[in-house]
């Protein structure tokens, strides 16, 4: 803690001072963020350094906190769907799904089969876009500028495709209670069919250009080892858990929608380090393409919204339910409690990034600061999701 001799004031805010209380003599307290190129979005991490080594780290959250859970209490269930697109801008459709799915489960609403396939297609496309965003931004963190240009080129094509049915490019509010807002048009389906081989042709290039690159390998191999037992204690899920060898994917573990009918692999890595998490995400892009391709073949004709779908003023029946889906970052859980009134009584949003980031303090201990940044990026953080 620094006290200015002339004014007697203490440097730093509440969090810095609280963190500095237990600092070692002679160590350096450094604030990374909330606006810093190495911290995604507005994450702030306070680190205590001994030379270049991290003695202790503490993420400080709340800079993007919007209290979505309170907003859920002042809107009807149907009016709350647009909020879900704004929780996680990386994989907005999965959040749409988690909330809509929870309400459907509580009300016992069956979704038409075509709508289920449309949901899977859009959700998987969004997952690829999310992984591409992570990939580009992560390499940017590590000092490689070019890959994000390639990643955004491909991601742009996905956004164009998703724009046809959803009408938006980032903060989707596409799902409805009982289906989706709009069917996939012929033009949209044609573009999807064209995109799949294109994306497949890009992946070997990504591998040659980036994944096998010696500089990247030296930055991420053996860095940030997370043991499966740590994943359990912190509740880490998604590619973070799978990168540590835990084959846990909600699409398989607690199957929902039409995923049981689809053939896909849940990739895991025994490396447990940043490289393991990297590999898992790269394979997931391929797997999502396989899923979309199968959906195009299996998709029946029919409605995409159940007849008599709830109106905005519709009241959710009394009761509670918990529904989880697999998002790009892990398990997205929504716990809804309804008293039968106009608005939901309580909506709890479980963000995967929240639990994944809570690991960081433990994993970063004893690493070099530059490696701590490599670990942070490998967790794939979307701050609005963590802060909610």
């Amino acid at each position: 803690m620094t006290r200015y001799a002339d004014t007697g004031q203490v440097a730093g805010d509440f969090y810095t001072n609280n963190f500095a209380k237990t600092a070692k003599e002679g160590s350096l307290i450094l604030n990374l963020g909330p606006q810093h190129p190495s911290t995604h979005g507005v994450l702030r991490v306070i680190v205590e350094l001994d030379g270049e080594y991290v003695l202790r780290a503490e993420p400080v959250l709340g800079y993007l906190h919007r209290m979505h859970e309170k907003m859920a209490e002042v809107k009807t269930a149907a009016q709350f769907i647009p909020n879900m697109g704004r929780v996680d801008y990386g994989h907005a459709i999965a959040w749409n799904w988690a909330f809509v799915g929870a309400v459907e489960k509580l009300a016992g609403i069956e979704v038409p089969e075509r709508a289920e396939y449309v949901r899977v297609i859009t959700c998987e496309f969004n997952r690829i876009a999310s992984h591409l965003l992570w990939w580009g931004a992560y390499l940017l963190d590590l000092g490689a500028f070019t890959p994000i240009m390639y990643a955004f080129d491909d991601r742009e094509k996905i956004l164009d495709i998703l724009q046809c049915p959803t009408g938006s490019r980032l903060t989707y509010s596409y799902f409805r209670i009982g289906g989706v807002a709009l069917d996939l048009s012929e033009d949209c389906l044609r573009r999807i069919r064209e995109f799949i081989p294109w994306m497949r042709s890009r992946l070997p290039m990504y591998k040659d250009l980036v994944s096998d690159n010696i500089i990247l390998r030296k930055r991420i191999e053996g860095i940030g080892v997370i043991e499966p037992e740590q994943c359990q204690r912190y509740g880490a899920t998604g590619p973070v858990a799978r990168g540590s060898g835990i084959g846990y994917d909600i699409r398989r573990a607690v199957p929902y929608s039409v995923y049981p009918k689809l053939d896909f692999l849940v990739p895991t890595s025994e490396l447990k380090d940043a490289r393991g998490r990297y590999d898992v995400r790269m394979i997931e892009i391929e797997q999502s393409l396989n899923i979309i391709e199968q959906c195009l073949e299996l998709m029946p004709e029919g409605d995409t919204l159940v007849k008599g779908a709830p109106k905005p003023s519709w009241k959710v029946p009394k009761g509670e339910t918990y529904f989880a889906v697999e998002g790009g970052r892990g398990k997205i859980g929504v716990h809804v409690v309804s008293d039968g009134g106009k608005n939901l009584y309580r909506t709890k949003l479980r963000a995967p990034g929240f639990s994944n980031l809570s690991l960081f303090a433990e994993v970063s201990r004893g690493t070099i600061l530059a490696d701590a940044v490599a670990i942070l990026g490998s967790l794939d953080l979307i701050i609005p999701e963590i802060d909610r």
Partner: protein, 182 residues
Amino acid sequence: MNALLAGIPLEYLAECDFAKTGQSLVAFVSAGSIVSAAKRMLGEGWHLEDLAALDCLEGFVVSYHFAHFDKPGRVTLRVLAPHDKPEVPSIAGVFEGAEWHERETRDFHGVVFPGNPNLIPLLMDPDMADCFPLRKDPKSRVKAREMLEAGEVVFISPSFTLMTPDAPAAEGKESGGAAATA
């Protein structure tokens, strides 16, 4: 699945329909037993998904959701914290990931968790840390049993009335109760 919590002093244990409620087992424990219950869950390989409070007429129902990497199902442990003194011992010493969830619950509902190593505001601004945005207006609080899933009761402690309908209709199975309290 009932054997999972054998030996832990429970107030209420019920099996639920997972397909409908997303929960396979719901148990109420007293605040004093939550740490030992959490230790059991850790030992059995369950992980903490999240932790959240619900402001009901009778108090804050703090729910701990647990899932397993290899087994299906979800176990919900619940603790009732009274409005006048909402305190639940921290389980951050068992599940480190609970530290942030507990801080969040303190921010939103003002439930405090003695034993949490760093119970400072997480999402709320430290300058307005005591405004508790998710606390309900006393007039709009609803009884817990009107909303929460009662499930198929396996065991209910005689003094536990939170989930019992106003007319007494608890169908406690004595054998399950004996196993849970043994």
